[in-house]
Each structure stands twice: as C-alpha cells, then as structure tokens.
C-alpha cells in the first residue's frame, strides 16, 4: 500500500503512523488537536511486559493473567500475540527515547499491578502515557520531516468511504472551512479512543466520545462486547470529573477500607487475603459496590518521602482539587467509568469486517475480554498500532479512484438541512440526557429493568433525531455527532440486555451467576435499521 489515513493521534494512531511511515507508506494523521491533548497522556500507571524470568515470571503467565482477568472470553491467539510481543514493544519505546524509570542497575523498573501474578508493569514515574506520547511525537516529527507523515489538525471524522465491502477513505470535516472533504486512501485506521461521552463524569478525556464507532455501526461495521465497561475502583470526585487515583497507589501498598463503629474494615483483605487490594479492577469495584459504604484509600502509612517519590501526581491532584493531604489523610474513592473493553470488532490483524478498514487502541475490542488488567491498555495501544501497520504494509494497494463527489454533496446537503432545524430539543440537551440515561442503565450493576428504562429514552430520541436542533455557535462536529452517539447508545443497551449472566465488569443483578453458555463475545450489527446480536467464540471470529 502507498497511503494510509489514520483517524486519531494518540498512542495507537501515532504508533501506526510511525510503523507505516517507516515502511515507506505515506500516513495522513487526522485529529482535531495535537497528540498532547489525547487521552493517552492521562495513562499514569504503566505498561506490562515480561522483561525478566529469573523471578519465576513468564510470557505464559502474562497470557494466563490477561485471559483470567478478562473473564476467560478473550481469544487465546490474540492475547498470546499481545503478551509475546510485549517485551519487544517496551524495547521499541525505549529505543525511541521514552524516559522509563530505572533501578540502581539501570534496568527498567517494574511494579505489581492488579490481577497479575508477578510485578511486570514498567513505568515512567507517574506519567507513563505522557512520556510515551513525548517519544512518539518526536519520532513522528522526524518522519514528517521526511514527508512520510502528514498531520491534519482541526479536522474531524465524519464517515467512512465504503464501496463493495471495502473502505476507500473517509469524509473529513474541516472545522476551519466548515466543509466536508473526501480523503481517499488504500487503508483507513480508526484510532479514536473510547466512548466517554456516553457517560457523565469519567476518568478520561472529553475528546473521546464514541461517535466514530457509532457512525461506523450505521455504515455496516460490526461492534463487539459493548456491555463490558470498566469501572475503575479508585477515582476521586471533583467538580468537573472523577480523577483517577492510579492503581500504582495500591501497587505501592495502599489499602482500601470503610468505617464501621469507628473502626476501619479492610474489606478487600478480609475477603481476598493480603493481596486483596490488588485484585482485578472488576472484582474491586464490585466488592466496593456490594459494601454499600463510603470507601477510602489509605497510603499515608507509606510515609511522606515514599509518597512524594513514587506517587507525586496522586499527592498533587488530591491536594489541588480536594485539599486532601494524602501523607496524613485517606482518599475518598468511588468506582468510575474508566475504560471500554468493547468497541469495534477486529480480527487478529486489527481489520474490521470491512476490508482495509482497521481499528486500533481503545476503540478496538479484542484483548481484554470482560475486564482489562491495569498496564495492558498502553501495551495494547502500541501493539495494535504495530499489528495494523504490518498488515497494511503486506497488502496490495486498494484505492480504486472512485469519484466520491456525489457522496460529499449528499452529506453536505444533509448537514445543511439539519442546521436549519429549530426547536426546543437541542443537541446539548439530548447529549446530557443520553449520558444520564446510559449512566443509569449501565451502572456497575444493571438489570433488565434498568436497561429497558434506558432503551425507552434512547428510542425516543432516535425516533425524533431529525428534529434535534443544532447549536450554531458550537463546532459543527459537536452537532452532527449526535446521530452516531444515539445509535451507539442503543447498541450498548442491546449488548447489555442480551448477556444474561454476570461476567467481569458486566454485573446483572437479575442474572448474578456466570453462565458457560455465554463464554463468548457479543457481536452487534445494524442492518436495514435492525440491530442484531450474536455470540461468537473469539478465536473463531478473530481468525
């Protein structure tokens, strides 16, 4: 192939662009803002890889932990690829100049993270994601200088250009000119992040909304496992968002407790033993939820020196946003939406069911099953970008030179009509209600009743979607994305309804047991206005 269009410039998009460009493929990297604004920079904790085996750790154990932590539904082949290449991923990031933390011997430091049998989370202080972005941006800049990467800012994804089951590019909306442009390419890679906008306060970026997945669903792309939404156990509530208290706080020894009759109850340790605080995130969040109490995280006993050395960002954010001195006080924490295991369904090469349309990073669903382990998201972001690039490089050029001007005009006309709609039901109102609706329907525990209630609201908005008025003072993207978000919301509810068991992060109060009949992935599609779901075995689907 000679040209690839990449939507999103966080870690997975940057990696894919670098890996394509280093193979001589011209990469166009589209994002509204520079990579420094991507959610990737918020990933604090680390990246998993087995770098040493003298302590008893092994690639096999990393695979086993990932599969087990994910509720045993992720594909063995996909997870094996991920974990086997993990050491090489970390070495590659190191070779690009990522500032990893090191021990006295100069080796990359690793620490324990939840659900892992050995300490294998490599980290860069408490800003691992940010340090990786810094290194990748510099490498991308080098390749920009060679003319192999072109970056386009102030540009948003609108829709894919699909003909005869093949992706030929994407319609891109230019916010500066207010126009749509058909950008053709041999392959398109979606690296647009998770679905935060579907909920209210999350730990993530406001830029990640899920529109791309929703719009692609409307265009015939299959989505997967949308019911699996990770609630991170330790977030601290502030006025605008719930900020993540990194798993590193528990990795360094932090203890969760609630108070009863003036005494502390270390409920995770009571239930799961001494490693209780570092159980996988789904287990910790569920157990916290089941206590029905206000939960606190104590790290103060680590001592001021160690806290300021190992957890400075946690110290800063608690002090700055809540006035809490964690060297003396406990942190009030609550489970908060943090990561989406579900997303665009892809095969082992990260290709979707549409030929030459790929998805990488958090927007793709393949490695994490029903629950993701801490430290595996940065790994999957880099690994998926590399895998997609290898597949693209080995494929024949596929751009057929079709004329897309008719499609551009019809979508431009459609936008013009929508801009003229007046009425009280505004985009911002619908967006707010949608987030409240999905948040209520798909809380830590959900039921047929909560899902049906949510479905009623989403169905109502879908029925009147052409009457929703745009806000002309907003960026156009903030307006036109509403159709994609509504369809994605409906697909999420349908997936959650169809999985009548509890597994990983999906807890059904009306189906509390795990059922082997559901030891599969949920695929959801939208054809001729009908949503359909099917259960598939991951290894069969991924190829």
């Amino acid at each position: 192939m000679t040209k690839v269009l990449i939507i999103g410039s966080g870690i997975s998009g940057l990696t894919c662009a670098i890996e394509c460009a280093s193979r001589g493929i011209n990469s166009v990297l589209v994002s509204p803002f520079p990579s420094e604004r991507a959610q990737s920079v918020l990933a604090a904790g680390g990246i998993n890889a087995v770098l040493r085996q003298d302590n008893g750790d092994s690639i096999e154990k990393h695979i086993e932990d990932t599969l087990k932590g994910g509720g045993n539904i992720a594909g063995v082949k996909a997870v094996t690829g991920l974990c086997t290449e993990a050491p090489s991923v970390v070495r590659w990031l190191e070779s690009l100049g990522t500032v990893f933390s090191r021990d006295e011997e100069g080796k990359i430091r690793q620490r324990p993270f939840g659900g892992q049998t050995y300490p294998r989370t490599c980290f860069a202080g408490t800003s691992t994601g940010k340090q990786i972005v810094t290194a990748l941006v510099m490498e991308a800049r080098r390749l920009e200088g060679q003319g192999l990467i072109e970056r386009r800012f102030w540009s948003d994804f609108h829709s894919a250009l699909i003909k005869d089951g093949k992706c030929c590019g994407a319609l891109i909306f230019n916010e500066a000119s207010g126009t749509l442009e058909a950008v053709t390419a041999d392959a398109v890679v979606i690296a647009a992040g998770g679905q935060n906008m579907m909920f209210g306060k999350t730990t993530g970026s406001t830029q990640c909304d899920g529109y791309t997945a929703g719009r692609l669903l409307m265009q015939g792309v299959k989505l997967k496992n949308l019911e699996f939404i990770q609630y991170h156990p330790t977030a601290i509530e502030t006025d605008r968002k719930n900020m993540l208290v990194s798993e590193a706080a528990r990795g360094e020894g932090g203890r969760l407790y609630y108070e009863e009759d003036g005494k502390r109850v270390y409920f995770m340790e009571d239930k799961f033993g001494e490693k209780g605080n570092l159980m996988p995130r789904d287990v910790v969040s569920r157990t916290m939820y089941e206590t029905g109490r206000d939960i606190f995280l104590d790290v103060s006993f680590l001592g001021r020196e160690k806290i300021l050395d190992r957890l400075p960002e946690v110290y800063d954010l608690c002090m700055k946003y809540r006035g809490i001195d964690i060297t003396r006080e406990s942190i009030p924490v609550k489970p908060t939406v943090h990561f989406f295991m579900g997303g665009i369904a892809v095969d082992l090469n990260h290709m979707t069911n549409i030929r030459d349309l790929y998805a990488v990073g958090e927007c793709a669903s393949i490695y994490h099953g029903a629950n993701r382990l801490g430290g595996n998201s940065l790994l999957a972001a880099v690994y998926s970008g590399r895998v997609a690039a290898r597949s693209i490089a080995s494929s024949a050029p596929g751009s057929d030179g079709s004329d897309w001007s008719g499609f551009v005009k019809s979508e431009q006309d459609r936008l013009a009509v929508r801009r003229e709609v007046t009425g009280d039901t505004t985009v911002s109102y619908v967006k707010t209600v949608l987030a409240d609706t999905i948040g209520s329907a798909l809380g830590i525990a959900r039921s047929a009743e909560s899902i049906a209630k949510g479905m009623e609201t989403v169905d109502h908005f879908l029925a009147i979607k052409d009457e929703i008025s745009f806000n002309k003072s907003e960026l156009e993207y903030f307006n036109y994305r509403i159709d994609g978000l509504l369809n994605l919301g409906k697909a999420m509810l349908i997936c959650a309804d169809s999985r009548r068991e509890s597994r990983g992060s999906h807890i059904r109060s009306d189906y509390p047991e795990t059922d082997d009949a559901f030891r599969k992935a949920t695929i959801v599609s939208l054809e001729d206005g009908e949503f359909r779901t099917e259960l598939v075995v991951e290894d069969d689907y991924a190829g």
């Binding site: 190191e94 100049g97 090191r102 800003s127 340090q131 490498e139 970056r151 505004t426 002309k472």
Partner: protein
C-alpha cells in the same frame, strides 16, 4: 461574580467583550465557570479547548486576570479581585473565542529538527530533568509569558530550549547541530526573564535546561 470574556466569532473577526454573571460555588476552577456559562442550553456558547480537565493536556491555556494559565488548574477563590477576566492567548491567532491555533509550536519544532532519531542515553545528563521535560504539555503558556517570544520570529522560546536539552541527552545524532539550532533559535534571543518557569503548569525547571545547554 462578574465574568468578562473576550470573544471573537471567527479568524480575523473583530474581537468583543461579553459580560456574564456567575453565581455558583466559588471553590471551583475557571473551567467550571466557563462550563457553567455554557451549560444552560446557551444558544451562543463560548468556545474553548479542553480535554483532560486536570492540567495534564494543556488544552485550556488562556489568559486569566492578566496571567497566562490553564483554566482547569486555576481556582476562582484564589484569584485576586472581584471579577474574572478571561482572554485567549495573545501570541497565537484566534480561531474562535478562547480557542487559538498553536500550530506554530509544532512547526517550529519541526523546522529545528527537534527529534531524537537514533537513541543513545548520555549518562552525564540528568534522567530526572529529562523526565520533567518529557512532561511538557506544549500548551504555549511559556511562549505567552516570554517577553522575547514574538509570533513568526526566529526565537522558538523556552519549550524549544527544554526539548533541545532532551534530545541532546538522548540522541546519538549530531550534537553540534543540536547546539547550533539551540543557539540560533533560543540562546541568542533569551534575556533570562524566567517568566516561563513561573507560568509553567507542570513546573519544568527550564533554567536548569538552559544552564546545561549553555555550558556545552
């Protein structure tokens, strides 16, 4: 509280001031105040850039009561005076309201070949300082505050000095070329006002980077 926001409809349009009244909690960030102004189904929202809402992305850099700061990192109850005055960064072209085009930052870094290329760590450099520089948000606050940085000039500003140190410490490439670029695009123009360190939202010790680069 009275809130004055300098607005602009589109690139090149005449800017104008608009006043609002904020009556909510004062123990909140300026980002929360802007959100509050925009949240009442306002048909004329104030455009601003945001992503992380916790001082980790640099999106919401703006001028608040005359000082370049991040809106999500600036708390209303800690500001002096009875009114809140918000303007877009003045050294970058306005796209709309508080949203500015900071593309020049990336362009300049590209122009000066600010990349590592082949990696090799030189142990005489400080890994801790490299880590701090690696946290740079590219928000542009240091350029806004720097008295020597002028739009379109050959002086690329403090963030370039920091990145020069970073690549010099971690690149196997031509270090003389890195120093030449540093001299040309930074050292000759810096008057050491150090306003950059005062406004940096992640407290990058730029003076240390400058001191070490100047000694080369």
């Amino acid at each position: 509280m009275r809130v004055k926001i300098k607005r602009q409809q589109y690139p090149g349009a005449e800017p104008f001031w608009q006043e609002y009244t904020y009556e909510g909690d004062m123990n909140v960030s300026v980002a929360a105040v802007i959100d509050s102004i925009n949240s009442k189904d306002n048909p004329d929202v104030v455009s601003w850039e945001c992503s992380c809402l916790q001082a980790m992305c640099g999106g919401c850099a703006m001028v608040i009561n005359g000082v370049p700061r991040l809106a999500c990192d600036t708390f209303v109850n800690k500001l002096k005076g009875s009114e809140l005055v918000i303007e877009p960064l003045r050294k970058f072209p306005v796209i709309k309201d508080l949203v500015v085009d900071r593309g020049i930052i990336q362009e300049n870094l590209k122009k000066a070949s600010t990349y590592i290329g082949e990696y090799e760590h030189d142990d005489k450099y400080s890994q801790e300082l490299e880590y701090q520089i690696g946290r740079c948000l590219k928000c542009g606050l240091c350029l806004e505050a720097c008295p020597n940085y002028v739009k379109g000039d050959n002086f690329f500003g403090p963030l370039f000095a920091d990145d020069s140190y970073f690549i010099n410490a971690r690149s196997k490439g031509d270090k003389k070329a890195i120093k030449r670029n540093y001299d040309k695009h930074f050292a000759k123009g810096c008057s050491k006002a150090l306003a950059c360190e005062k406004v940096c939202p992640v407290n990058i010790p730029t003076l240390s980077a400058i001191a070490r680069m100047n000694r080369l």
